[in-house]
Assembly symmetry: C2
Homo-oligomer: 325 residues x 2
């Protein structure tokens, strides 16, 4: 399967993660379980490692002088071009979070921007004609700056977050007009649209000229709104969830990776891509940090994709398989 | 489509409901919106009205002398046998609740058992050979009592709640061994299994001898665990949610109504039935109280069932329709 290149911009980070011991009743207090420090993370890291299972990736990010070169080497070994990863003096971006007992909710304990505070994406000349672009969650002015530096990519997808929706609305609106697809979570969709109801929110957001809207709902999967209707992709019910950090980024990475293999990015390609993103995210949550995706390959992903297909089947296997070809 | 009869036992009630005005950010306080008093409700009411769109229903419940006879008349006009609905001296069961701004969470403000406190299901002779049984959420000892009074029904499904899981565990365990299917929500599945993780919880619950486990997740749909794998049925993303009260009961009613039309209740029948339950629940939430389901008919339901099928399709319409026949 030949694939085009994907440019991915976002954060590379150290994460400090605390996990409580899960209990049957999330309302009941639990003592803390394990903690992990200096876990390799960041939206660009997760998305790039995942997309690399399906397509060549070009990464744009910044790391401090404390970030291990070996991680960048591992990424390069998997087909990630790291020419766009700047190494700046100072410390790498660091996020500290504590998960709730349900392993879904989480509290941010600390955010240290460090070298990310002065991040100005700088596109290597070799990146400018990349056909697909994934704008990870960074300041929308920087997302626009990346787009401005490129030669008409054929497909642009972006993520964003509440902080920019509330604080940089005008800039974000300018970005929205230049996207093919937006991938956000349900809370962000509500804030961005001003509509509480998720169907009403989607209808409102599609008015901004987007062709494709993907609303992530964590353990409940994703909703896709396109020109040919709505698709609800369920998440795999996994018995061994270890760490949800980065699952949304791996979802976006898996989706973009699949789209890079498609000659035409239409409604069907998006739906199949969302299934690939869902499968990729399921690997992500099964290990702490990038442990679930940093060695992800196409055969493993395809096998999990088949499980998501099965999960969506109203008719059991026998009938469904006749229709799968 | 010919259908067998369904016996449905549960509550008939007055509900007092308070709804806040929804806002894009559920965390932000809102002033209360509308309130409704004396709304006709109860698990048996919702489930029976819904199942009646597809199959003859026999209801077992108790009402007080304040419950309008006109409601029972409406139900009879739709093919619900109300010979098993006792009218007792005193007031009808009453539940008062206030919904959160997200229209999902809710607080119980008051529960008045009234005539329901002394409810002892009494099966009319004509009910004893009913082939399908839906045991709504009442004391598990009463659910067992109903089963004991019946002549070997071919399919028995039950609902329960946290109160019985925590307080009547032994009785509930005896009931579980006699069920074909259990339909509960995710929180109940966690409590009942002692497993936080929903996939682990399902695996544990299926050990009790159930053939079919349905885990309701409200606006996120339902998960089905059966012998031929897992099916994730999404809920329709509706732009006009008015009142979620009774949605779970309408889901169970729609599911049972569909099963009553099936000669063999296998994995496929359960999956298609869950789609019917999902469609039925979507009508329920679009109006306050039973307004969305009390006139529900088979053509309306079928049209909404087609929408749920579309929502599950990874391939858009054109390809999927070739496989639908």
């Amino acid at each position: 399967m030949s694939a085009e290149s994907i440019l991915i911009v976002g954060s590379m980070a150290f994460d400090d993660l605390q996990f409580p011991r899960p209990t049957p009743d999330p309302a009941k207090p639990t003592k803390l379980g394990t903690s992990f420090r200096d876990v390799i993370g960041g939206s660009a890291t997760y998305a790039a490692m995942t997309a690399a299972a399906l397509a060549p990736v070009r990464a744009i990010a910044v790391v401090g002088d404390d970030f291990p070169e070996s991680v960048l080497e591992q990424m390069r070994a998997r087909g990630v071009d790291t020419d766009g990863v700047q190494r700046a003096e100072g410390k790498t971006f660091r996020w500290s979070g504590r998960y709730h007992p349900d392993l879904v909710g989480r509290d941010t304990l600390d955010t240290q921007l460090n070298v990310f505070a002065d991040f100005r994406p700088d596109l290597p000349q070799s990146y400018r004609q990349t056909p697909l672009v994934l704008l990870g969650n960074i300041h929308p002015a920087l997302q626009i700056q990346v787009l401005d530096a490129m030669d008409s990519p054929r497909f642009v997808m972006a993520d964003t977050m509440n902080f920019w929706i509330e604080g940089e609305r005008d800039t974000l609106d300018r970005l929205l007009g230049r996207l093919d697809a937006l991938v956000i979570n349900d809370e962000e969709a509500r804030l961005l649209s001003g509509e509480h109801n998720i169907a009403a929110a989607a209808k409102q957001l599609l008015k901004s000229g987007l062709d494709h809207l993907v609303i992530k709902r964590g353990e409940h999967g994703a909703l896709y709104f396109g020109k040919e209707g709505i698709f609800a992709c369920p998440a795999l019910p996994l018995a061994d969830v270890a760490d949800p950090t980065g699952a949304g980024d791996c979802f976006a990475g898996g989706l973009m990776g699949y789209l890079a293999t498609q000659a035409h990015i239409d409604d069907g390609a998006m739906r199949r891509g969302i299934v690939h993103g869902t499968a990729a995210a399921s690997f992500c949550v099964q290990a702490v940090g990038t442990g679930g995706v940093r060695q992800l390959d196409e055969p493993s992903l395809s096998s999990r994709v088949a499980e998501v297909y099965a999960l969506c089947r109203i008719e059991p296997e026998a009938l469904a398989e006749r229709c799968a070809s």
